[in-house]
Amino acid sequence: MSRRDRRHRRHLTRPGSILRLPSARIAVGVLAVVIFLAIFGSALAPQNPLTINANDLFQGPSLHHLLGTDYLGRDVLSRLMAGTRLSVFTAFEAVAIGFVLGGPLGIATVFLGKWFDFAANRVADALMTLPSIFFAVAVTAALGNGLVQAMFPVGILLSPTFFRVTRAATLEYARAQYVEAAELLGASKLHVIRVHVVRKVLPNLAVLTAQATAGALLAVSFLTFLGIGVQPPAPTWGGILSSDLDYLNLSPWAPFIPGLLIAITVGALNALADAFRDRTGPGTLVVADPVVKTHSTLALEAADDRQPAA
């Protein structure tokens, strides 16, 4: 590679360079707003999300209530803003669990011998097929009706995908360096591996994290929609959606608001994942999201399936 090519390539791998894609810029913008709301949402809400106002039921959008009011006269916008925190934080919780459980295990499995690797792979296969929602609900039976508990199984069932990604990256390195995986001697080698493997794994991990977060967010919305972890009157995105459904006759357009919010956030995460993926090039291992559906591509088709305009 010529020197100019090398410099160009390094330029591409700097994190800031994702922002070159317009879709990625929008996505990052949206996510920044969401995270901001998650942290400061309740403080910034124009109205108190809990105030019941019996005179103003089912109002349409107005100056006072930018997104209208719900079946108890509460300001929808404020409720959505306040509900962001719970949704976002518990989504992160699940992703963190998946990451911590799956990631290091994926690296370790390359060095722990064939049988361990085989067993780990089979377990990962099985875990990936299991529907996490069912387990999330079941866990609430065991551990109480809390969202935090419910996201445990979601996180656990996310870990196989992290496992796969880190394992693939580690394998690539181990093979490339002809390192006999079992004969790992000396801290210096460990350090080198840590540095190289981490560098190789980061782009794929970025894609996966974005997708996993999207999936976890959907899972949270779904669970709160089902009534898990919701302590009324505390607002959650899914909870708002669910109650809107009950009053569909009176206000058929109401569910679109939280629905749109969920969709936009999830879409932004997916766009971010796509932006990461574009820069990691073909052959990237992208695995199916095991939670409620978001975006699924298979490693079998390495070619990017977005065709340039003919």
Partner: protein, 343 residues
């Protein structure tokens, strides 16, 4: 037809075993491998399922007996009746062996055998899931095929756009949209409830079509996208040209050669998405008020009716794992060239 003189060929005589038998053996070994994994996986997941229940610290005896009657002696007696006094592993083993015979225990609160409750509710989910799969294959398959055949055309671009949009919408949001559109706004189809096929085929279909559609759209989008990519790649292959110069009609080439070889990844997606469809079925049940397994699970989770929870989980996990095995087997049969998907 004159017989050309016999010449020895360079290779090919080395295969002494008849080719068909050899391939069957390889497929069989793969199925066998799948089964061998299946058992430990099932055991593992059932154990997790069971352990969840055991973790619950709930005291069903007390709840059943009620506050006043829950004296320690009565509780101990009830515990014994419920089988809760034995060590965990023994309980697990009893439960598992019973489950293998179809007895999943009895609800702590209603006294109804779990298998009965499940059997009652299963057809609801099954009919929706099966219809959803059919719809997904029809919609996704057609869209993906047409998009690939008319590559670059307006249909192709439209499909790509729609697929991206649908991908972000979770099944329950789609379901809600459908309800709003078809049931509330246009009053075409019922918004909720379920009528079994025994109550008439048409009402049954009317009730399940919306939830099935809601469930199928995401999977259909994924199938369409994947099928399009695979098909475009397959159609560029030499053997399609080979089939053309043999004079085979285009439609036949498309279906029996191209689609057949290209559908592998799409089918895998279907197999992978199936557990997600189950989750979506729970969503659909919530949106459309259907009396299915999801609702059963929710209710029993709320009341902490552990045997029911365990039973439902076991049934669902087994189902999912078995379906995955089936999908893998089908793929093995369709793609005999030994290296998986031929594209």
């Amino acid at each position: 037809m004159a017989v050309v003189a016999e010449w020895r060929s360079a290779a090919g005589d080395d295969n002494v075993i008849a080719p068909r038998r050899r391939r069957v053996r390889s497929v069989a070994s793969r199925i066998g491998g799948g089964l061998a994994i299946l058992i430990p996986i099932l055991v593992l997941s059932s154990f997790i399922v069971y352990a969840l229940g055991a973790l619950s610290n709930s005291n069903p005896a007390a709840t059943i007996l009620g506050q006043d009657a829950a004296t320690p002696a009565a509780v101990a007696k009830m515990d014994k009746a419920l089988g809760l006094d034995k060590p965990l592993l023994v309980q697990y083993w009893d439960w598992l062996t019973q489950a293998a015979q179809g007895h999943l225990g009895t609800s702590w609160f209603t006294g109804i055998p779990v298998s009965q409750s499940i059997a009652q509710r299963l057809p609801v989910d099954l009919s929706i899931a099966v219809l959803a799969v059919i719809l997904a294959i029809l919609i996704g398959g057609t869209a993906g095929t047409v998009a690939a055949v008319r590559r670059g055309g307006w249909f192709d671009r439209g499909v790509t756009l729609v697929c991206s949009a649908v991908s972000t919408l979770p099944a329950f949001v789609v379901g809600i949209i459908l309800v709003v559109a078809f049931a509330v706004a246009w009053h075409l189809l019922p918004a909720n409830g379920y009528v079994g096929p025994t109550g008439g085929i048409l009402p049954w279909l009317q009730h399940i079509i919306l939830p099935a559609l809601a469930l199928s759209l995401q999977v259909a989008a994924d199938i369409a996208r994947q099928l399009r990519t695979s098909l475009v790649s397959v159609l560029e292959q030499n053997y399609i040209v080979g089939a053309r110069v043999r004079g085979l009609p285009y439609r036949r080439i498309l279906v029996r050669h191209a689609l057949r070889n290209a559908s592998g990844p799409a089918l895998t997606i279907l197999g992978n998405d199936f557990p997600l469809m189950l989750a979506g079925a729970v969503a659909a049940e919530a949106v459309f008020s259907l009396p299915g397994l999801g609702q059963l699970l929710l209710e029993s989770a709320q009341t902490r009716d552990i045997p029911v929870v365990q039973g439902v989980l076991l049934v669902v996990s087994t189902f999912v794992i078995v379906v995955n095995l089936l999908v893998n087997t089908v793929l093995n049969v369709l793609y005999r060239s030994g290296d998986g998907v031929a594209a």
